[in-house]
Structures are given as structure tokens and as C-alpha cells.
Amino acid sequence: MFKKGFFRLLVVAAVILTVTGLSGEVFAQRFKGVTIRVFTQTPPYIAKPVMIHKADWEKETGGKVELITAPFAELYTKMYSSFALKAKAYDIVIYCSGWLGDFASNNFLLSLDDFIKKDTRIDWTDVLTVYRERVAAWGPTVFGIPLDGDSHMCYYRKDAIENTEYQKRFAEKYGYSLTPPRTWEQYRDIAEFFHGWDWDGDGRIEYGAVEFMRKGGQSSWLFFSRAAAYVSIPGQHGLFFNPDTMDALVDSPGHVKALKDWIEILKFGYPGMIGFDSGEVRTIYHLGETCLGIDWGDIGVLSDTGPESKVRGKVGYTILPGATSVWDYRKAKWIGFPIENAAPYLAFGGWVGSVDVNSPNKEAAYDFLSYLSSPDISYIDVTTPETGFNPYRKSHFAKLDRWYKFGFVNPAAYLGAIESTIAHPNVQVDLRIPGTAEYMEALETEITKALAGEKTAEKAMADVAKEWNRITEKLGKDKQKKYFRESLGMPVW
């Protein structure tokens, strides 16, 4: 009897093992024969994580990943045409989250809520709140998987600012102590002080600051980084539109001041920077040519980990400079702030991955995105050179070992600046309504004229506002207002 029971147990065990073993096989190859097409920017940045991890995913699932890329300037057009004309050229698109509103409101994207609920791997709550709710979602629905966290910060050369001799001379000249810039006025003074002479002893002349100003070179984000502090009273949203009337706010005196600051910084900037895009800025900065720079996390990454960097370990990080006088659009006057008003800006929001609502391979597509975003895989990506992915999960900030391995001399300082930005009470989110690309193109067009001296700052911003209002009318003012309020998490009546 014992034997019989034992034998039966064995049979049952064998059956169970076989079934689970087989199903392990089946599940392991659950996307066998499926090819998903992923579309994003030309490698290495942003595309590299796909390239690194696709082999593992393919082995695990039996599916195949085909990577298609295009230069940044053409991403929006190609995605839009594939969606709108139903060309179904891509299953997954990895793109700038600012465009998510455009795509989601046109019903181009697949809702990912159900997938996320069933997903045990993605650890959704590990993603920082602001990215979960303000970047990946549209209204209450999640349409994108965050793959990257973006914000602007200010970089400075420690060997310049912490030099006691220079500190003395600076205090003599300007009447206050030299510290990492806390306001845009200080930024300007520091740029002026360190412009046009060799302060790091390498035999080359250095310059004050380097920033990207080229139309189509992502300059609109840098502009808003500069404007945010001047127009964002905590609690108000004065950066883009009036949330009650949907009138453009970009011609406010605060915005004009920011543009004037920017025009002035040309005097203390790297020669030719009016034609620079973000890439050139990074290369110039990490070759040691300027004291100050504004960028996403990439200057930091390149400076400490780039193979040709001349400034490793010499770079300091701080949140974007603030302003001591802020324009209140409700009261239509300047408000003084004894302690400067800081308004760090989540420029670009971050790259997200979405699935075409008409994709024939939805499950496989989601699975790959979830794989890329999973805590362990994404940790690798944010600490690997040339991926372009910056941290966005709590776990990214908590573990420092890979950051050191990455090459950072002081990862805590770097991550600290990013965390301070994201967690800042007055943090500003990027514009994410339909037509964002069009609004930004209009902005860059006018700003570039002001920078080139063709128009006054006032006229340029007035023209931007005019064009923004025209675009709003074209797209439907009420609709845009609804979308804008939703993107800010404000109630929509």
C-alpha cells in the first residue's frame, strides 16, 4: 500500500514537473515568432539600451526586436505620420514625453493600465511619483512607460569657484561671495568673471558659460529653464498658459527678463554658441572650455565618465538658479523674494516608451518596455555610458555602487542635485498638450531672432504669445484648456 501511494505520488510529481517544465518552456518562448519594431533616436543615445538588452529579452521570450532609428529632428514627424496615416511602421516608439499629450489625445497610443496591473516585474511604485503621474500618464490613464528621468541643472567648475584667490577677487569686484550660482544675476556675474582668460592653468583661454541656443537644437527647454524662476510663484502655474483662460503667458515681463538674461549671456559665452545644439554644448563643457553650463544630466555623465574628459572630478552640481523678484501674473506685478525663488524645471520630462494602439503585437511590445523599465535593467542603463538615460526610480538613487563603477567621482553630489530638483516643492513640469511641438517651434523661431539681435526681447515674446494663441484657437481653446489642466493635475470643470 505504501508502495502504491508512493508510486502514485511519483507519477503525480512527474506529471507536475513535466507540465511546469513544459510550460516553463512555453512561457519562456511566449513570443516566439513575433517581431516587434522599436523606433527611436539614432544611436547611441536612447537607442543603446535597446541594443544592449534586446539579446537577453529575445532569448527569454523567443521574440525578435528590430531597431529603427532617425535623427531627433525627424522623430516627431515620422511617428506622427506612422500613427496618423496608419502606416503601422512601429510597434514601440521611444520618444520625448512632451509629445505624449499629442499622441494620446489623438488616440494613437495603447492604454497600459491593465498591463501594468498584471505586471509583477515592473515595480511601478518604485518609479518616482512625478514621473508616474505627470510624465507617463495622460489624465488618469497611463500611456507610456518611463525609461528616463529628465530635468535641467546647473553645472559649475569647482576648481574655479572654490579657488580662494578667485573668491577674493570676485568679492572685490561684485561685493558678494563667490558661491555656486543661486540666482540668474549671480550666474551672469560668474560667467563674466571667468570669461576670456585661462583660470585653470591649461594654457588655453576659457569662457564663461556654454548653452544651447540653436533652433531645432532643443533650445526651447533651456529657455524655459531660465524663465521658470521668474514666473512661477509657488502654487501658480505661470510658465506656459493661464490655466483659467488658456491665454498664453509667454509674453509676461518675467519671460521677457529671462530672454534678456539669455541675450546678455552671449557676451560671456563660448564663441559660436548661438549655433550650438545640446550635443555640442556637452562636448565643449567636458573638454574644459567653460566654467558654467546648463544641461540635462548629460554634462555630468560625460564629464566624469567620458573617455576624453578633461574635467573629471572638477564639476559641481546645483539646481537651476532662481530669482529674487518673481512676476505674479494674477496680480500683474513683481513680487520680491528675500530668499530666491527656485523653480527647477523637468525639461523634456524624460523619454518614454509607448505602444501603437494599432500594433499587431501589443503583448510583446509591452513586455519589452516593461523589461527595459524593470528596476535592475534600468539601473544598468542609467549607469552605463552613452545611454542618455538619467535616473527616475527611487532604487536608482539608493544604490551607489554602479555609479562609482560608472566613473563618477562624487555620485552623491550629482544624484543629490537631481533629487533636489525632482523633489522640490516648486518643481515645474513640462508642457504636454497636443500641439506641443508646434508651440515650441514657434517659440524657438522668435527667440532665435531675439538672440541674433533682429528683434527686441519684448517684441519677440509678444510674437510668440500671438502665435501660441493662434495655435490654441486652431486646436480648439476649450479642448486645449481641458488638456492643459489635466496635464497639471488640476480639476477640470
Binding site: Q41, T42, I46, T69, P71, S82, A89, G279
Partner: protein
């Protein structure tokens, strides 16, 4: 000619040659430079100013080889075949327009010719979107046949104009004599006519090839991935770190090589073939 004139002539020619070759020299040397050598001030001479490195070339020929191979093959196939079609159809049309009298309603030869050539006035941007929709309907987006068709149409007006000017100055007497002598039409075509117009054909082919090889706008919008051509590849070198000058330079050298080879091969015909344009 007096010696002084000759010397001045040489000086001017050499000056122009320097002007022509400088950017090319710069590009070739840059393809052997590292990042710092490019950004930190102009370095002119390899081994004197900077240490040449094969970094960019190694990248192009190994890691990124697949990225390059497909556009290269696409460009070769698309340019070669579309130029062939343009040349053949264009010559046929030109032959027709100079040998026959057409009459469609009130359209005569001259009107047809003008209409064909006026297509060249069309800025491609006018037609790009409509073409996208059309090609999508017949599923030819991002395919080589789609691009071949597009470039053939793009180059036809040019081919027609060039061949027409050539044929118009070709004496018909030879053809007629041959036919009277009893040669069949096919014989006439291959043994008599074609050898006479060979220079014109070569010139037309080369010009069409150059235009098709270097075309950007149509390639940008009518391909997504599989049929991308070389100009797109070069334009895509704009990484997040700024234009990758060394990679772009290496690519540019690769891009120009096939054209130069074909041009060297056909260049003797080029001048002879263009003579009638000047008549």
C-alpha cells in the same frame, strides 16, 4: 599666347583647385581625428599637428558596418536603376519629340516638351506628402521599387531635355540612309543610332545618377528604415554629443567613392555629351 598669360592662367587654375580641394582635404583628415583634436582648435596636418587615429574608420567598418551597408546598397541599387530608366525613357521621349510630330488635341511637340521640363520647377516639397499617400496606398513606402519609381520621375524631365538637345542636332540622314539600305529598324537602332548618341546617353546617365545618389528630401519622407539611402545616413550622424565630425567625415568619403568611380569612367563622354546643350 605670351608666357605671362600662361603663368597667370596656371596660377588661377591652381588657386581654384586649392579652393575646391580644401574642404575635401579637411574632411579626409578629420576622419582620422579624435574628439579633442576636432573641438579644441583646428589641427591641420597629420603627424605634425595631431596624431591620426583609425578610431572613426574602425567604427565605420566594424561596429557600424551593418548600419552603413544597407544604405550603401540601397543607394547603389536605387540610383543605378532609376537613372537607367530615366535615361532610357527620357531618350525615347526625346527621340519621339524630335522625330515625330505629335498632336494631342492642341498639344504639339513644343507644348509637350515644355510641360515635361516644367516638372523640374516643382519643388519636391510640394509633392512629397501626396507621394507619401500614393505610395502607401500601393504599399511601396520604404521599398526600393518605390524609391526607384520616384527617382525615375524626378529625373525624367532632365533626361528628356538633355537628350532632346542632343538628338535635335543629330542628322537624320544617316538613319534614313541605313533604312533605305534595307536595315531593319532594330538594326538601325543598335548599330547606327545608339553609337552616335552614346556620349549623350553617358552624360545624361551620369547627371541623373548624381542627382539620385545625393537626393535627400524624398528619401527622408518616403522611407522609414529598410530603404534608407546614404544622404540620410550622413544626416543621422548628429548624435546627442553634437555632430560627430569624425564619423561624418568618414561617411562622406565612403559616400563619394562610388560616384567618383562612375564619373571617372564616364567623364570623357561628359563633355562630348553636353556639347549639344551648348548649341
Amino acid at each position: 599666347m605670351r608666357t605671362i598669360s600662361i603663368i597667370i592662367t596656371y596660377i588661377l587654375l591652381i588657386a581654384w583647385t586649392i579652393f575646391v580641394l580644401s574642404p575635401i582635404y579637411w574632411t579626409v583628415t578629420t576622419s582620422f581625428k579624435g574628439e579633442a583634436d576636432v573641438y579644441l582648435g583646428p589641427k591641420f596636418f597629420p603627424w605634425i599637428d595631431f596624431k591620426p587615429t583609425l578610431w572613426a574608420w574602425r567604427k565605420m567598418l566594424t561596429i557600424e558596418r551593418d548600419m552603413i551597408l544597407r544604405p550603401l546598397i540601397n543607394s547603389v541599387i536605387i540610383a543605378t536603376i532609376s537613372s537607367l530608366f530615366a535615361m532610357v525613357f527620357g531618350s525615347m521621349a526625346a527621340y519621339g519629340l524630335t522625330r515625330f510630330q505629335y498632336k494631342f488635341a492642341f498639344w504639339r511637340n513644343q507644348d509637350i516638351l515644355v510641360w515635361i521640363v516644367s516638372q523640374r520647377m516643382m519643388p519636391p516639397i510640394v509633392t512629397v506628402l501626396a507621394l507619401f499617400i500614393m505610395l502607401k496606398v500601393v504599399n511601396l513606402i520604404d521599398t526600393r521599387p518605390g524609391m526607384i519609381l520616384t527617382y525615375t520621375a524626378f529625373n525624367l524631365p532632365l533626361a528628356v531635355w538633355m537628350m532632346r538637345n542632343f538628338l535635335i542636332h543629330l542628322p537624320r540622314s544617316t538613319e534614313e540612309a541605313a533604312m533605305v539600305d534595307g536595315a531593319s529598324s532594330m538594326q538601325t537602332l543598335f548599330q547606327i543610332v545608339i553609337p552616335m548618341i552614346l556620349p549623350g546617353l553617358a552624360a545624361t546617365y551620369l547627371i541623373c545618377f548624381i542627382f539620385a545618389w545625393n537626393e535627400f528630401l524624398f528619401a527622408l519622407f518616403l522611407t522609414f528604415n529598410k530603404s534608407q539611402t546614404i544622404p540620410l545616413l550622413i544626416a543621422a550622424q548628429h548624435f546627442q554629443r553634437g555632430p560627430q565630425w569624425w564619423d561624418i567625415s568618414a561617411l562622406a568619403v565612403i559616400a563619394i567613392t562610388p560616384v567618383v568611380i562612375i564619373a571617372l569612367f564616364l567623364q570623357r563622354y561628359l563633355v562630348k555629351g553636353l556639347i549639344p546643350l551648348g548649341r
